[in-house]
């Protein structure tokens, strides 16, 4: 497999035993990742796939293959939980929940993805409140 993502040093303290990543993800989201047959329907319908470094089906494959560099992927933070993949998956796997589980693995190690202080005053005044609440709920532990 071609190397697509740069490993983020911040995540070096997150270590798993052999097969531990998939188990942790399955425990957090309650989905059976091994049921995925890599058809790519999730990636075909994903509105953010153009900007992702790993397509959603690749994320699942990385987790199944125990490749923890998936945690450094941009994909899990670009996913805005629109549930399109979960709605269309022929194997009825809720990929949205898998993305949330991967985010939670990082956030629960106290590694935040967003910093409220960095948001400019102009943006604080123009962007609707619900955007901030949802951003901090998704990207801050």
């Amino acid at each position: 497999m071609k190397k697509k993502i740069e490993k983020n040093k911040k995540f070096s303290k997150i270590v798993f035993k052999k097969g531990g990543l998939a188990k942790e993800v399955e425990d957090l989201c309650g989905e059976n990742l091994f049921g995925c047959y890599q058809c790519g329907t999730c990636s075909a319908g994903c509105p953010f796939v153009d900007d992702m470094d790993l397509a959603p089906d690749e994320v699942i494959r990385y987790v199944v293959l125990d490749r923890s560099e998936v945690l450094s992927s941009k994909t899990i933070w670009l996913c805005s939980s629109c549930f399109t993949c979960a709605e269309r998956c022929p194997r009825d796997i809720n990929i949205t929940k898998i993305m949330e589980a991967l985010r939670q693995i990082i956030l629960r190690k106290k590694i935040d993805q967003s910093n409220p202080i960095k948001i400019s005053k102009k943006e604080r005044e123009s962007i609707p409140q619900l955007a901030f609440v949802s951003l901090f709920r998704k990207n801050v532990g």
Binding site: L28, L78, F83, T84, S126, Q129, L130
Partner: protein
């Protein structure tokens, strides 16, 4: 009939126009929206992990307060609030053991009995008022306007909390046709607008707004109609910013469905709240002769 409604944070700030028009439209239809007492933020996004029960506390507290007011129905206007409240309601109905834990945690509140049903204002209009009844009350039909209805994600997904078919929704286009407008269909109507990425990934959201709107333009649409305050901001504001990224692209106006109902019912201009939009929504209505130009103040 008095109807209890849950506003949420954004309706009190950057989407005051959505709240105001919904209240006035309901009044014109012979009912009254009464704001529920002592509501709190719903949390906007529902928790998706199996163990993260804490995130269900905020929406559950709102549901408890609906029960405390002796009601078994609450209407929401914001899509994200609606989705979050519905998902929590579903979770505690499906998993009584989770409800037990949550009830035990909230010692100042009464226990939630699970009697509340959460309705989106669109569902109320479709199921309790009826679009046929609404059509009879139209005084100022939206003749000559081609509109692209845009649903986004939160009205339709996950399937369990959807207000319509998750892949082929018709609720907004049915509504718009009953107001006399022409609608155009398009595959982007159910695609995400970019959601909260608007804070940190402005350009990606601008490109999404461009993609959604340019398809509407190709089909000859004059405007977009939607229901979510965040989609409104992303398509309107980030769409306007996309004009700098794509040469020759021009953003079309974005309306809340409640605003167009208010216009077609002939309500007073003071309720529309078009001043909170980025792309001026009044120009199109004036051009088509639906609004009289001299009476508009923005």
């Amino acid at each position: 009939m008095k109807l209890l409604y849950y506003p949420g944070c954004t309706l009190k700030t950057s989407a005051k126009n959505l709240e105001k028009t919904a209240i006035e439209v309901t009044k014109a239809l012979g009912h009254e929206l009464v704001e529920m007492k002592d509501w709190n933020c719903c949390g906007v996004v529902a928790s998706l992990t199996s163990d993260d029960l804490m995130r269900h506390l905020a929406p559950l507290r709102n549901l408890i307060h609906v029960e405390d007011e002796g009601e078994n129905k609450v209407i929401t206007l914001c899509d994200m609030c609606c989705n979050t409240l519905k998902q929590t309601n579903l979770r505690v109905k499906e998993k009584p053991e989770d409800l037990k834990t949550l009830n035990a945690f909230m010692d100042r509140e009464n226990d939630y009995k699970g009697t509340v049903s959460v309705l989106h204002f669109l569902e109320f209009l479709r199921d309790e008022i009826g679009f046929a009844t609404l059509k009879k009350k139209v005084k100022n039909p939206l003749k000559g306007i081609k509109i692209m209805p845009y649903y986004g994600c939160m009205l339709l997904r996950p399937r369990e909390v959807s207000i319509d078919d998750p892949e082929e929704p018709t609720i907004l286009s049915d509504l718009l046709r009953s107001l006399g407008a022409e609608t155009v269909d398009n595959p982007f109507k159910i695609e995400c607008c970019g959601s909260y990425n608007t804070v940190e990934q402005k350009e990606i959201v601008s490109r999404r707004a461009h993609r959604i709107t340019s398809f509407a333009l190709d089909q000859g649409a004059d405007a977009i109609v939607l229901s979510c305050p965040l989609c409104r901001f992303n398509l309107d504001m980030r769409g306007k910013e996309a004009e700098k990224l794509f040469k020759g692209y021009k953003q079309i106006p974005v309306y809340y469905y409640t605003q167009l109902i208010a216009v077609s019912l002939g309500l007073d201009h003071s309720v529309y709240g078009f001043d909170q939009h980025v792309v001026d929504p009044t120009l199109l209505l004036k051009k088509k002769g639906i609004l009289e130009s001299r009476r508009i103040k923005i």
